[in-house]
């Protein structure tokens, strides 16, 4: 089976007026399907750059990245966007739901992007059940939900297109510890059901839920 994500000697340099900044320095690693990985490191270590590259929001300066065996380096913007839509689910620290859409519409959004038309809300309801959000909230807008409920909606949105990988950026960073724990338990459940999860975090409590931790220091993998 091909790795869910494979980094091969990846270098990322940001050319700035003040001089080039080396954000990632010859990084290589693999994430197998079904793994739950946490990526930790201090501020400025290259975590966000790594997340952007894994999420196909950016391309490496040198080296290769493969998502489920597909090389992304030569892809154009349209192909990268389709890859994000179909293979990757994003979960953000600040939930990042669309304030103008209700819960069902938020969850259905990636599905509508994929199909190019309005879709049946049944699958969205099914996924919302899986993330344990009660039916009564389905027609609410994000502003009418608590932080934990919003993050459940965000997880449901990330899962709706059956992605190969779930990329989480500090998923509990904006939640209280109790809600954060319930969200991490939900992620663990999803992982047990087969989801590949990569979680970028500062929080060692979050990292404890993962099977493996990659530590980044100064753009290199420390351990």
């Amino acid at each position: 089976m091909q790795p869910a994500i494979q980094f091969v000697d990846v270098v990322k340099i940001y050319p700035l007026k003040a001089g080039d900044v080396l954000a990632l320095n010859h990084i290589s690693f693999e994430v197998e399907p079904g793994e739950f990985i946490s990526i930790m490191g201090p501020s400025g270590s290259g975590k966000s750059t790594l997340l952007n590259l894994m999420g196909c929001l950016d391309t490496p300066t040198t080296g290769d990245i493969f998502v489920s065996g597909t090389g992304v380096r030569a892809m154009n913007d349209v192909e990268l966007t389709n890859l994000r839509r179909d293979r990757i689910g994003f979960i953000f620290q600040y939930f990042n739901l669309f304030p103008l859409l209700n819960v069902i519409e938020n969850v259905n959004f990636p599905q509508m992007l994929k199909s190019g038309k309005d879709v049946n809300p049944d699958k969205a309801k099914e996924v919302l059940h899986a993330v344990q959000l009660e039916d009564q909230f389905y027609m609410h807008t994000p502003m009418e939900l608590s932080g934990g409920q919003q993050q459940r909606v965000a997880i449901a949105r990330a899962l709706i297109n059956d992605p190969d990988i779930l990329l989480c950026d500090e998923p509990t960073g904006n939640l209280d510890s109790k809600t954060g724990a319930s969200i991490m338990e939900l992620m663990t459940d999803l992982n047990k059901k087969g989801a590949t999860i990569i979680c970028v975090t500062h929080d060692p409590t979050v990292a404890k839920y993962s099977n493996r931790t990659i530590r980044i220091v100064d753009g290199c993998i420390a351990s």
């Binding site: 349209v78 966007t81 990042n96 959004f109 038309k117």
Partner: protein, 400 residues
């Protein structure tokens, strides 16, 4: 589609801002369409007034200058006192334009009185062969058979002096040139190139010749072109009578060509006035551009999220284009409806009539203004939409 829905909802939550932008478009469309309607109505009014003379060629004595705008209104004024068209020239014209009818016209200004003790009036008297009168004018009352002591009077003259069929007019100072009986009232002709009868009297050529001792020295000749083109008739007359370039005999005016020049001038004026109205549309466009840029700036993070979860650039762009289109279409349609009301008001106030409001030309003017409004809105939405679509998703996601 979801982007259409988002565009609609975004307009709804910023209802005041969107309404003000729409108001700008409404004003722009009304300004352009109302000016167009006014121009079209003006052309229609003039056209109605002049349509009866559109088939005439007017021949006047050559006075040394260029062509003239018409020989009516008193026989060309003082400078043409001694310039006449001779009977021989008239017969040449008659032969040249056959089978079209050439009508010789005398004209002079004369004092007259209506009733005993009335004020002295000065107006124009035309002398036209009785047989040719029906070719030149229509009557609203009485009949053409005015005999030697009868006359036809223009509708304005009749109205101003309370004249009816059978009324009597003393001609000349103290009635020195006799009395004429009104046998018919001429229908209003408005502006014309040949003779202006609304404020004049029309008598027989015999009466005119006897009274003013004239014989075969006409002030103008009007050719009613029923066979062929007025331009060809004009050329034929010039070729026949103005053989020598240094000794021209007549000036020839093609009324149709003059009319076309007038229409073209009105068209230019209408376009110019509409263009001035267009300035308000440009201002409205700037307002749309402004609110679209605000909309993009407020939603940078949202755009970043959309792009990160798989929204294509063109889909982001479509969302903002839909927003501009909704404002443009609603604003322009409301503007179109208001412009009909504005056109009605402007026509009523400036032209005194609204009978030319519901015409195809006005429908086109309104449609053009509505279309222009929509195009302006879409154009002003394109750059902000493009900018939104081309935001770097990573930078947009970081935006606070």
């Amino acid at each position: 589609m979801i982007f259409w829905e988002i565009a609609k909802r975004n307009i709804r939550i910023h209802v005041l801002r969107s309404t003000l932008a729409m108001l700008g478009i409404v004003i722009g469309v009304v300004a352009i369409a109302a000016m167009g309607i006014l121009g079209n109505s003006l052309v229609a009014t003039v056209s109605d007034s002049l349509k009866s003379v559109g088939d005439s060629v007017i021949v006047t004595p050559y006075s040394g200058g260029g062509g003239m705008m018409g020989g009516g209104g008193g026989g060309g004024g003082g400078s043409s006192e001694n310039l006449k068209i001779t009977d021989q020239n008239f017969q040449q014209i008659q032969r040249t334009v056959a089978p079209n009818v050439a009508i010789p016209v005398y004209s002079t200004s004369e004092h007259m009185k209506i009733g005993v003790g009335s004020d002295d009036i000065v107006t124009t008297i035309y002398g036209v062969p009785s047989a040719d009168v029906p070719d030149m004018m229509k009557l609203q009352a009485g009949d053409y058979n005015n005999g030697n002591s009868g006359c036809l009077v223009g509708s304005t003259f009749a109205k101003d002096h309370d004249l009816k069929v059978g009324s009597r007019i003393s001609i000349g100072t103290d009635g020195s040139k006799g009395t004429l009986r009104v046998t018919g009232i001429i229908e209003e002709r408005g502006m014309s190139f040949d003779i202006s009868t609304d404020n004049a009297l029309v008598v027989t050529d015999n009466w005119f010749e006897n009274t003013y001792n004239r014989n075969g020295d006409y002030d103008e000749v009007v050719v009613k072109v029923k066979d062929g083109d007025t331009a060809d008739v004009k050329t034929a007359i010039e070729k026949q009578l103005n053989k020598r370039k240094d000794n021209k005999i007549v000036s020839v005016t093609d009324s149709k060509a003059t009319l076309n020049t007038i229409y073209a001038t009105f068209g230019t004026v209408t376009t110019f006035v509409s263009a001035i109205g267009g300035i308000s549309m440009v201002v409205a466009g700037v307002s749309i551009f402004n609110i679209m840029m605000m909309s993009v700036n407020e939603r940078i993070k949202e755009i970043g999220i959309m792009r990160s979860i798989g929204t294509q650039k063109k889909e982001v762009m479509s969302m903002f284009i839909y927003e501009a289109a909704i404002i443009g279409v609603i604003g322009s349609i409301i503007g179109g409806i208001f412009s009909i009301l504005a056109g009605w008001a402007v026509s009523a106030l400036m032209l005194g009539t609204t009978k030319y409001l519901l015409t195809m030309a006005n429908a086109i003017s309104v449609s053009e203004a509505v279309g222009f409004g929509i195009i302006i809105c879409l154009s002003c939405g394109i750059y902000p939409a493009w900018q939104a679509a081309n935001l770097n998703p990573i930078d947009a996601l970081r935006h606070e």
